[in-house]
Amino acid sequence: MILIDKNTKVMVQGATGKMGSSHLKRMLAYGTKIVAGVTPGKGGTEVHGVPVYDSVKETVEKTGATTSVIFVPPYLALDAGLEALDAGVELICLITEGIPPQDTAKLVAAVKEKGAKLVGPNCPGVITPGQCLIGILPGQIFSAGKVGMISRSGTLTYEIALALTDAGLGQSTCVGVGGDPIKGMGYQELLQMFNDDKDTEVIVLIGEIGGNAEEVAAEFIKNNIKKPVVGFIAGVTAPPGKRMGHAGAIISGGKGTAESKIAAFKENGIHVALTPSEVAQMVAKAVPQLVKA
């Protein structure tokens, strides 16, 4: 597994908001070690039995949390992220959608400078099935196993996880990197981590139209990744020039097409599935020993 496990101590920034508190409850129910919520001005209260503090610094001092899941509104996200970084948080999972990308760029720069890690924004979160869930992923869909997943999408990831789980193929860790053009962790960093992770035997990479991250990743995989990779690209039927839901999902100037990404995958020896259930079939074929009886 990568990024999080059963010992990860997690705080929730924006814990007293509607979304924050409902997902805090879900994460707790899944078994995640949620040690605190953070909401300025709500310090001293509780959310679902978890203590709330006024600042991240105070939270880190009092609970030793190293990871923060952020649910604050878009224009407050940069401040929340920087506060977490400044307090020494090592992994930030930024769920918030609709953050102006210039704010994200500032946060990404600060994350690099501090040597921390950022997943998101506009992402579903991270899950190490059976151990720890941070974000808004539906835990019941995932099962523990040896498949590492990286995805730019939310529900599509669940669909594919479901197909894998249905096929008896559990997951080591699934990371939703988010649908924004400017973001924290990308394919390469995560591919390398899965490659080095002893609990992962095969990697599923779920991309979509927009940008050229998949093309770059394909070459990186060829040169650096020793484990089999199964790829999936959404958006074969997307028209050019239109944003398809995610801020980053757009074909512009003829660049970022599904065709280009699929071709790059194939050229670099990556299996390409065309439907979610095909992903499961290809994974099973690539590592038959994984399929549970």
């Binding site: 808004i136 992923l137 730019r152 999408s153 991250a213 074969v236 839901g245």
Partner: protein, 379 residues
């Protein structure tokens, strides 16, 4: 949000970048207002690109010719984009044209300058393009370095650098996705002017950029009526030319569903993502929008209820089907409260298909078999 050329230039001018004198007209007779004499350039104000190639830029030697041209130009449509007005400017003596833009770079995760010593070009296909990452906070030496890389020296280096710095300041202060001057021109007298420009404002920043309050509506006039309706209620609809109306939760899943429709021989009619955690009401509105597409023969609903509760969706579906009993509808629901949803749907005669591929295949089968007929609300 894409801005018209005249709006972009107003913002450039406010930020200290020199633009040519101009008059904006919406009627041919307003051409008489021109205060800088003829010949002039008439440019259609449209939100689409490729205006020049489409014939949207004309020169007029006198008022008469100008008014004749204006009549035609004002009616022009470029790539589905209607002409909003004409921008009239003097013809200038150009010594050199450049391309200069600021945008966000996905790979580097920061703002970049994109520039070329050739102007008026298709930047995507040019091989003379320079890109330069921009540090934050910005400092003017970055602009000077860019001007130097573009080959400038002396006074022009200082002037072009100054424009670059101002363009970045505008980009940052106004939360833009793109601030583009194309071409940036150098006149015979070594004046540096923005002759044409494009600005895209980041949609997510509109609520904190008071400058653009109230601008959104008049910048969505090129969207279809259904796309605008969706936008206003916070849904993302993209219309396509097929006949299977698609409604899913999550952008990636919606695209994957469209792709599967095509893979199994059907034609997707739209992309519509109802988002995560949508309630009954919003789901119902989304169903109505898809239903309203006259090309739509079958509707395919694909909800993977991770966070979204399947029973909420089922209740919306029951209401919808009461209103439009003849609408062909294929429903795939899976996840949270799937069993409750199944019961609710069964009561109103709707079958729930939990397997995605099976559902897509069913929708494709229905779409190719139906005889086209309008589906209205039950009287």
């Amino acid at each position: 949000m894409d801005l018209y050329e005249y709006e972009a230039k107003k913002i450039f001018a406010e930020g200290g970048i020199t633009v040519p004198p101009s008059v904006r007209i919406t009627k041919p007779e307003e051409l008489a207002k021109v205060h800088f004499g003829f010949p002039v350039t008439l440019k259609v104000q449209v939100l689409a690109g490729g205006r020049g190639k489409a014939g949207g830029i004309k020169f007029a030697k006198d008022l008469n010719e100008g008014q004749e041209l204006a009549k035609t130009l004002l009616k022009m449509v470029v790539k589905d984009s209607k002409t909003e007005s004409l921008l009239v400017e003097p013809k200038l003596n150009i010594k050199k044209e450049l391309y200069l833009a600021v945008t966000l770079d996905r790979e580097r995760g920061c703002a970049i300058f994109i520039a070329s010593a050739e102007g008026g070009i298709e930047i995507e296909t040019s091989d003379t393009v320079i890109t330069m990452p921009i540090p934050n906070p910005y400092h003017p030496y970055v602009g000077r370095e860019l001007a130097r890389k573009l080959g400038f020296t002396g006074n022009l280096l200082v002037k072009v650098a100054d424009v670059a710095s101002k363009l970045y300041k505008i980009f940052e202060a106004k939360d833009l996705d793109l601030a583009e001057v194309n071409p940036l021109i150098i006149t015979e007298g070594d004046e540096v002017l923005a002759l044409d420009g494009k600005i895209t404002v980041n949609d997510d920043a509109l609520n904190r950029q008071r400058y653009f309050d109230g601008w959104l509506e008049r910048h969505t006039m090129d969207l279809s009526e259904r796309e605008r309706r969706s936008k206003m209620i916070g849904l993302n609809l993209v219309e396509l030319d097929g006949n299977i109306g698609i409604l899913c939760n999550g952008a990636g899943l919606t695209m994957a569903t469209m792709d599967m429709v095509k893979k199994f021989g059907g034609r997707p009619g739209n992309f519509l993502d109802v988002g995560g955690g949508s309630d009954q009401e919003k789901t119902l509105e989304a169903l109505e929008i898809v239903n309203d597409n006259p090309e739509c023969d079958v509707m395919l609903l694909n909800i993977l209820g991770g966070i979204t509760a399947c029973d909420e969706v089922a209740s919306a579906l029951v209401k919808f089907i009461k209103k439009y009993p003849e609408r062909k509808l294929v429903v795939r629901l899976r996840g949270n409260n799937q069993d409750v949803a199944e019961k609710i749907l069964a009561e109103s005669g709707l079958k729930l298909i939990p397997d995605l591929e099976a559902a897509v295949k069913e929708a494709v089968a229905q779409s190719t078999s139906v005889t086209k007929k309008p589906v209205g609300a039950k009287a």
